[in-house]
Amino acid sequence: MTVATLDDVEFGAQLPVFEPDTSMTNVRRFAVAAGWNRPRFTDHEAARAEGLPGALVPGIMSQGFLAAMIHRWAPPAEIINVDTVFRAPVVVDERYSIAGVVTDIDDQDGCVEIDLTVTNAAGETRVFGTARVRLPKA
C-alpha cells in the first residue's frame, strides 16, 4: 500500500521491505553514475587486496536505496534528511533487505521519522539510520 498523505501514516507502520539490487553489474552502473568508479567498489579481487571482504556497495548507494524505499512507499514524500551509520560492510553480490518503520509523526510540521535498517541474510544489521520525511496533508 502506498502512502499519499500524512493521514495515511500510522505510528509504527512498517514500510514494505525492499531488497536492493547489489549485483556487481548494478553497483558498477551506480559507481560510474556517481563518479565513484574505484576498484574497492567494482572488483572483488582488488577489494580483497585492500583487506576488504570483497567489493563493497558504496555507502552512498546504501543511502540511495533507503531513499528509493521511502519513495516507493510514499511517492509524494519530500526527504528532509537521511542519516546513516555504517556498522559493517555491505558486500557486492550478497543479499540484503531493507526495512523501515515509522517512529514519529509530527502533525504540526507534516513530517514523519523513519527508522531504517539494512540487514544481511543472517539478519545482522549492516547499516542503520533515520530519515525525516515531509508528506502532504490531506
Binding site: 553497483v27 553514475a33 556517481a34 528509493a68 526527504i79 528532509i80 542519516d83 555504517f86 539510520g129
Partner: protein, 148 residues
C-alpha cells in the same frame, strides 16, 4: 603513529579547506536513480517536468581534497562510517554547482579492531545564485594500526 585529536580540532575544525564545482548530466541522474531502485518519473524520466537528481545524490560529490592540505597523514585505512544528507532544493542536470567543505567534527572511540578516529567532513552545496541546495556529511573512520 596516532593522531593528536585535540591539536587537530584546534587547527582544523570549521575552516573551509576546499571548494569545487560540479555539474550533473541527465544520463548520470537516470543511471544513479535506476541503480538505487527509484521508480518515480521525476528521477528516472528526463522528459518529466520536475526531472531532478534523487535527494541523496548530494552525498556523491567528492571534494577536491579529502582533508586539508596540512592534515597529518592518516595512520590507517579510511572507511566510510556514515553519511547524512539534508536536501533543500532540487539538483537539476547541467546546472553548475559549488561544493564547499570543512572539517565538522573529529572524535575517537574504541572498536572491534582498535582505536578508531572519526572525521566528519561537511560539504555545503550551492547553485550559481548562491542558494544552498544541500548539506552532505561524510564520516570517515580510520582504524589505527597498532605500532609494530
Amino acid at each position: 603513529m596516532s593522531l593528536d585529536i585535540d591539536d587537530l580540532k584546534e587547527r582544523f575544525l570549521n575552516q573551509e579547506f576546499d571548494a569545487q564545482t560540479y555539474s550533473v548530466s541527465t544520463e548520470s541522474i537516470v543511471d544513479y536513480a535506476r541503480a538505487c531502485g527509484e521508480v518515480a518519473p521525476r528521477y528516472t524520466d528526463p522528459e518529466d517536468p520536475d526531472f531532478q537528481a534523487p535527494p541523496t545524490f548530494a552525498s556523491s560529490f567528492q571534494a577536491g581534497r579529502r582533508l586539508p592540505d596540512d592534515f597529518p597523514p592518516l595512520p590507517g585505512l579510511g572507511m566510510d562510517a556514515g553519511k547524512a544528507v539534508s536536501p533543500k532544493r532540487p539538483i537539476r542536470p547541467g546546472v553548475e554547482l559549488t561544493g564547499r567543505s570543512h572539517v565538522h567534527d573529529i572524535y575517537t572511540k574504541s572498536g572491534r579492531s582498535g582505536r578508531m578516529v572519526f572525521i566528519v567532513i561537511r560539504m555545503e552545496l550551492y547553485d550559481p545564485a548562491g542558494s544552498q541546495l544541500a548539506t552532505a556529511d561524510t564520516s570517515v573512520v580510520i582504524r589505527e594500526r597498532p605500532a609494530s
